[in-house]
Symmetry: C2
Subunit: 202 residues, 2 copies
């Protein structure tokens, strides 16, 4: 697989296989697909990424990816400005938006503390968050990070940075997922879901 | 997932998810990876495909993808010019090259007969193959197509086109794969492997 009979083909396969989770076999399959497409489609394909990379911005308020200096969510006056949901990345923003259960603003950290991946607390936009809480009328900060070791560590770090700022700090409810069987639910989750039991609604 | 908060992001995800086997979730993951890369890397990425599509050629002899008018294999005078191995696409060429057991030339059909996918016999480069056999000193044509219905159909079609050309027509040996258990080998393959049994070599 190492030596393709064409320098152009090799270069294209190399580029594809730099993407996470794409091996050289998959890369070759995708590249051969592109070779069969009309020239203008392939130009559109290649230029979409170049344009994206050159023109995309980070929202100056919440650090979310955006076409403009201020993202759509931050500039929407109908959203509740007094609650900030702290997430790891834009994919988490999209997941939460899809639930249609959150009407506040976001704060995108751009990662979570992970010594293994070389991400230190200083790499996250926590100072920006502190400034927002200080300067704006923020009443609640919802920490919506993953329940992994790294997520928990990041939660503790942020908590330490903001607990004296007179703001309510909350996290997502932990419990048994819809569709989950109790038999296979881990005991930590099941235990939490018993401690935090809710009134039954008919 | 449909509505990303950025037109640029949407465009890039759209382009990625046009690739076979890439859904919008994977596309978004790959696009967000690209956003984090240096601008020059993303430009290299995008331009690799555009350059490939604009500059890649099909070998005028065997139809394989090549940087030049004649591919490396066809222009290699050390290869056996009297045997042509007929394959579906360049990936099959690469697979056979990796075995290091074939020193002849190739003929790349660019597909196999598949009414379901709208590929008719006229879409394949069979006429080019017939011309090669007529004009050059070809002694053997090895049909190395997949053992699927479409592959077999294509074999019969090519056979019909070339059997009167005074050339030996062969196909790959069918048999039990290395590492396969007889118990799970289909009866057609196992039957063939008994009929075509070989002298045991110590």
């Amino acid at each position: 697989m190492n030596e393709l009979p064409s320098i152009l083909l090799n270069a294209a396969v190399d580029e594809f296989s730099k993407l996470p989770g794409v091996g050289r076999k998959t890369a070759l399959r995708l590249v051969l697909h592109l070779v069969k497409q009309p020239v203008e489609n392939v130009e559109k394909f290649g230029n979409a990424f170049i344009r994206l990379r050159n023109e995309i911005k980070h929202c100056k308020i919440c650090n979310n990816l955006s076409d403009n200096d201020i993202c759509e969510i931050c500039s929407n006056q109908h959203r509740n400005q007094s609650i900030i949901c702290v997430v790891e990345n834009i994919r988490d923003v999209l997941s939460i938006e899809r639930t249609q259960q959150f009407n506040g603003l976001y704060h995108v950290l751009g990662g979570i503390i992970s010594p293994m991946d070389g991400i230190a607390p200083s790499d996250l936009n926590v100072d920006m968050l502190v400034q927002r809480i200080k300067n704006e009328n923020v009443k609640e900060v919802l920490l919506a990070l993953n329940t992994t070791m790294e997520g928990e560590t990041t939660c503790y770090y942020i908590h330490k940075k903001i607990y004296m700022l007179n703001v309510e700090i909350t996290t997502l409810a932990r419990g048994v997922s819809f569709g989950d069987e109790l038999e296979y639910t881990d005991e930590l989750t099941l235990g939490k879901s018993i401690l935090n039991r809710q009134p039954f609604i008919k």
